[in-house]
């Protein structure tokens, strides 16, 4: 699956998109976020890091499918 990257996560991961192989034990959005933080430890240093699943802020419990649109959401700063 592809994970969309914005702001500082693009700098950390080095691209605008991340191609990610969803593993068996990555069932919820929390599982996926934990796996991403493990793979890219720099993400853990951010004030906050979360996921959006299909264009909605994830609360962690969403069940993830290969076809979902996932985005990494670093601290927002609009306005």
């Amino acid at each position: 699956m592809k994970i969309l990257l914005f702001g500082i996560t693009k700098d950390i991961i080095g691209d605008a998109q991340l191609v990610w192989e969803l593993k068996e034990d990555q069932k919820t959005s929390n599982d996926l976020l934990d796996a991403l933080k493990e793979r890219y430890p720099e993400l853990q240093k951010l004030r906050s890091i979360a996921l959006a699943v299909n264009g909605e802020h994830a609360d962690g419990s969403e069940l993830i499918k290969q076809t979902d649109e996932i985005a990494l959401i670093p601290p927002m700063s609009g306005g």
Binding site: F6, G7, I8, R47, S48, E56, M76, S77
Partner: protein, 137 residues
Amino acid sequence: MIALKSTQEIDVNEITASVQSDACGAIDIFVGTVRNNFKGKNVSKLFFEAYEPMAISELTKIADQVKNQYQASKVSIVHALGDCKVGEIAVVIAVATPHRKASFDGCQYAIDTLKDTVPIWKKEFFEDGSHWVFSHP
């Protein structure tokens, strides 16, 4: 009107007209512009990027909340994307209500919430470098 635009395309008259309603006597408009300093450092420009479809969807949620909670007839929110120089407009929010107190309260709620929930990211450029701003949460 809910939109993401270049700062050059943002027109306060047009946004004001987009919320005008004959049943409303009050329009409050918040305009966020680029300040020349941040914590004492000179800012040269900002750069905004967004997760665009989600940003539009979150802005629409805010507009709907303001309509419900503040009896606003119409709400418009336009945010800049790309480069914004000092003095240029980063965001405009316009809220039209029958009476004026609600227009102020609704507009303030909208800009506070925008900063919390809308996937837009700001990079500040100083004379000696740049950084992504971490405002919220």
